[in-house]
């Protein structure tokens, strides 16, 4: 009698490499590493088909700690390397790990074009609003006024919004989560993985050394339920401990308003329902900031289009075999030729 052995259930540890993790104790990156390993275990991902590509920065050490193929590249360029890997072998499952400096400062150009091209990779941007590896300078996502070794009088620049950048670049999948929200993060990463095309996930990550608690205003346990809204496609946009708060369009305008159910005659029917294919709504959700609004987390936008690789494959006949010597000879002789007789 044949016994079918069920495949052994994979555990997060199966995706950990033998390398000792060397982030600062208490760094948010540990939690993201754990969530990613759990995601891959839940998906039953094949380690040999999985590739992590990173640039430079604290987050970019990530590939060393994954039991998968990994390429730790140069500052800001990970999306371009990832694109090349997909062009060489579109069957690989490629993850890009980057940070706010790596992805939005030195590498902003590549991030923009990789999103626009819709290369089928998952891009995880660890946003801690600071340069960690170079010891604490302000980053392109730092709030105006951030004091750092390079801005002793406070940063005088406006920060870039990672999500708004991704929308502007034509990203078709934009999501957000928080390092410490393990369950939420795993679900978001699974959605990103399922999406064909470039998926962009901004992960708010705490730098315990240089920018500790910069997100505490919406991530601290005491405020989280009031300061966060977890969006879900087809569900009303409600938040709050009592689930009695929500978002609606302010009457007569195209701007959002945070309201309380039961006050001013507002009922749940007045609230907006999340539609992740609606780019306009996604923009408004991404722009929300405390104290007047909660921070939107989850899949803000998901509207698939054919990926770069799929469109490229459509231009060539995949069934065509590799060129033989005689094909090559014919290629060389294409066009006008003449023969000199001996």
């Amino acid at each position: 009698m044949n016994t079918i052995t069920p495949p052994e259930k994979l555990r997060p540890d199966d995706y950990a490499s033998d390398q000792e993790v060397r982030w600062c104790p208490g760094c948010g990156d540990y939690a993201i590493l754990k969530a990613t390993q759990k995601t891959l275990a839940d998906l039953g991902a094949k380690t040999e088909q999985t590739v992590f590509v990173s640039g430079i920065g604290c987050s970019s050490r990530f590939p060393y700690y994954m039991n998968a193929y990994g390429f730790h590249t140069i500052h800001g360029r990970a999306p371009s390397f990832a694109t090349g890997i997909k062009l060489a072998n579109p069957d690989l499952d490629v993850w890009v790990v980057t940070g706010d400096g790596d992805g939005l400062s030195i590498g902003g150009n590549h991030l923009m074009h990789t999103l626009r091209r819709n290369v089928d990779v998952q891009i995880l941007l660890f946003n801690n609003e600071i340069y960690g590896l170079t010891k604490g300078q302000y980053s392109p996502t730092s709030q105006t006024g951030t004091r750092s070794p390079s801005t002793p009088g406070g940063s005088i620049e406006s920060p870039v919004s990672a999500a708004a950048f991704a929308f502007g670049a034509g990203g078709r999948f934009v999501a957000r989560s928080v390092d410490t929200m393990q369950k939420h993060l795993v679900e978001v990463l699974k959605r990103a993985h399922a999406h064909r095309g470039a998926s962009f996930v901004e992960i708010f990550q705490n730098c315990i050394v240089y920018n500790d608690e910069v997100f505490a205003g919406f991530t601290a346990k005491s405020v989280a339920s009031e300061a966060q809204i977890h969006v879900a496609h087809g569900e009303p946009l409600v938040f709050g401990k009592e689930k009695n708060r929500g978002l609606r369009l302010k009457p007569g305008t195209v701007e959002l308003e945070a309201v309380t159910i039961g006050e001013d005659g507002i009922s749940e029917d007045d609230l907006l329902v999340h539609d992740e294919t609606n780019l306009g709504l996604a923009h408004m959700l991404a722009a929300m900031q405390p104290p007047n609004f909660p921070v939107a987390l989850g899949v803000l936008y998901c509207a698939p289009e054919p990926s770069f690789e799929a469109r490229m494959a459509a231009q060539v006949d995949a069934s065509e075999p590799a060129m033989t010597a005689s094909d090559l000879n014919a290629l060389l002789r294409r066009g006008y030729t003449w023969t000199v007789e001996g």
């Binding site: 590939p63 371009s80 090559l328």
Partner: protein, 631 residues
């Protein structure tokens, strides 16, 4: 070769009343006009007809950087030079024997190149007061005696074209655009060229607007008929340039960019790898991207990246993924790729970087040629970061060099920089087509065995690390730009290890010297009075000059280096066997510096950085001057 030779006979017979056709060994013709006059296209057709007539030839397109410079200005002048002959032709020629000037600006810019006593064919119809003023002539050069040193054919080509083309129902403006074909027709008559290939080409090109095809063909025929019937000045007859002795085989004309693209395709195929080509548009390198993009097949992927850096990074990513990654640019773009090339050196991944050099520094003169990126290729990176450098000498040579680059890159797991230049990329020459079946393949073997695997396991002979590609079970590994431990491949900051890794990277590249051919002598003996040592596109000019000087009885040799880094193992000894070494370069002495520093050899540089290729005469004069010194 024949049909065209027969035509020549026929032609001569038909007009036996006239002076018979004069026989010439070789001729240099230069077409010049406004960039809107279709000069490059005209030259291309003439090159094809000339190849079909059995002459050997070399061409040099010399066009402005401006896409459409204001009409009639000197900076909008576009020129195309062709040297063809009954003997082997290796350069596009020194001074033109014939200059076709389709407007005053072309005359203004190009006249200084014309040989004294050379033939000027001028479109008088374009010599209007307005055009003369735009070209910066105070007086009409056709009337002030300033052209007395030349022979002239003054024709109102514009008017003759209008008459020929307008009958086809075109507007005046459209009809006038056929004047390049009229001029071409006349030149075809002069050299007894067969028009059929051009007629066929025009018919294909204007398949969607047959009226334009007809008008252009009418202009071509009218120009030809003018030559046959018109009263030419007494000293001007038609000419015969007999077919050259050319090795039997199948030929096509090819530009350096086309042959480079074909070499990459064949090279990747010989390695058994997918070709992934990432590039960003830049003059004069873009045509390699265009040539490859036109060959859309399974196994050939081209990508126009968002910038030079993304282009090289995608290529390196592709090599990590198991393809052969190639990127292509010109000097300024290669500068941007430098950091990524360093990663490919550290991660020991194969990569081919094409540099179609142009005149610099900075933007310099993008459409003008130079060889000034040799230092950049050999030394131009942070840290001790050796790689291999090759140089192509001619348009057709790009094919072989591209294949060699992929062979070295994959065998030694290293980036290889290939130096070409604007002259090679754009120039065309007849190419005897190789049979791919006769080229030795060099299939890549990926690592598949997980037993005792680590990513930096080396082949004891080549020192190349193993190539384990994603998708292979059991070989999951992480690499990057951080220094690796020699034995485990893990990150290491150990002092002795860095020394060891730096040494092994250097030894690996140095070892390539044992895998490449010994340096040969192109022309002349293996010792003697003077060796002329070149690299890249100076090949033709050096070759012509050495030939001429040898014919005068001097013991001079020509050595041309393909493998710039590492240099061939016998080169030092070879160069020491000559009394003097002359190194002509289109830079201020870069190969000369390398030879001096590597061999402690007192080489004598000959430098030219005018954006124009060397002339044979310039190198000949330099050789003779050295020989004079020596005696």
């Amino acid at each position: 070769m024949s049909t065209s030779a027969a035509n020549i006979e026929l032609d001569t017979d038909m007009h036996s009343a006239r002076k018979p056709r004069e026989k010439l060994e070789a001729v240099v013709v230069r077409f010049a006009g406004d960039s809107g006059d279709g000069i490059q296209l005209t030259g291309g057709r003439f090159a094809e007809a000339t190849a079909l007539a059995g002459n050997d030839l070399a061409t040099f397109p010399d066009f402005p950087a401006e896409i459409r410079a204001p009409v009639g200005t000197t900076y909008g002048v576009s020129a195309f030079q062709i040297n063809f002959g009954a003997r082997a032709i290796k350069t596009s020629g020194d001074a033109p024997d014939v200059l076709i000037a389709l407007n005053p600006a072309a005359l203004k810019v190009e006249l200084e190149n014309l040989a004294t006593g050379g033939l000027l064919i001028i479109d008088t119809g374009a010599f209007t007061e307005r055009n003369l003023r735009k070209a910066g002539f105070d007086q009409n050069p056709l009337e002030d005696g300033s052209l007395d040193a030349y022979r002239r054919i003054d024709i109102d080509i514009s008017q003759s074209t209008l008459e020929a083309a307008k009958s086809k129902g075109l507007s005046q403006k459209e009809a006038l655009r056929c004047k390049n074909m009229w001029a071409l027709g006349l030149v075809y008559w002069m050299y007894g060229r067969d028009r059929q290939a051009t007629v066929d080409w025009l018919t294909r090109k204007f398949a969607k607007s047959p009226l334009l095809a007809e008008a252009n063909i009418a202009a071509l025929n009218a120009g030809h008929a003018f030559g046959e019937t018109a009263e030419m000045p007494d000293d001007i007859s038609g000419y015969v340039v007999e077919p050259a002795e050319i090795a039997p085989g199948t030929y096509r004309t090819v530009s350096g960019s086309e042959s480079m693209a074909l070499g990459l395709v064949v090279g990747a195929n010989l390695a058994g790898l997918k070709l992934v080509f990432g590039s960003y548009p830049i003059t004069p390198a873009s045509s390699v991207l265009h040539s490859l993009a036109a060959i859309q097949r399974t196994g050939i992927v081209t990508m126009q990246a968002e910038d030079e850096i993304a282009a090289v990074c995608a290529a390196i990513g592709a090599s990590f993924g198991g393809a052969i990654g190639v990127t292509s640019s010109s000097g300024p773009g290669v500068a941007l790729k430098t950091e990524a090339i360093g990663l490919a050196i550290a991660a020991e991944l194969p990569l081919v970087v094409l540099n179609t050099q142009r005149a610099g520094p900075s933007t310099g003169m993008p459409t003008k040629t130079e060889q000034s990126d040799l230092y950049q290729a050999v030394f131009g990176r942070n840290a001790d970061s050796p790689l291999a450098v090759l140089a192509a000498r001619s348009p057709s040579d790009c094919f072989e060099v591209a294949i060699e680059a992929i062979r070295i890159a994959t065998k030694f797991m290293t980036p290889v920089i290939v130096l070409s230049d604007g002259y090679i990329a754009n120039a065309t020459q007849p190419w005897q087509l190789p049979d791919v079946e006769e080229i030795d393949p060099f299939p890549v073997t990926f690592r598949t065995d997980p037993e005792e695997f680590q990513p930096f396991l080396r082949d004891p002979e080549t020192l190349a690390r193993c190539w384990a590609v994603p998708g292979t079970p059991g070989l999951e590994h992480r690499i990057g730009g951080i220094e690796k431990d020699y034995d485990t491949g893990h990150i290491s900051y150990a002092p002795a290890n860095h020394q060891k890794m730096t040494d092994v990277r250097a030894a690996k590249i140095a070892g390539i010297a044992d895998d490449i051919p010994l340096q040969d002598v192109e022309d002349g003996e293996e010792d003697g009075t003077l060796a002329v040592v070149g690299w890249g596109s100076t090949y033709g000019a050096i070759s012509g000059a050495v030939q001429q000087v040898r014919a005068m009885g001097h013991n001079v040799a020509h050595i041309h280096i393909r493998h710039i880094w590492p240099l061939p193992t016998n080169l030092a000894e070879l160069l020491r066997s000559y009394d003097r070494v002359l190194v002509p370069e289109m830079n201020t002495g870069q190969l000369a510096t390398v030879l001096r520093s590597q061999f402690l050899l007192d080489v004598d540089p000959l430098n030219k950085v005018s954006g124009q290729p060397f002339r044979i005469g310039e190198i000949r004069a330099a050789i003779l001057a050295r020989l004079g010194d020596a005696t």
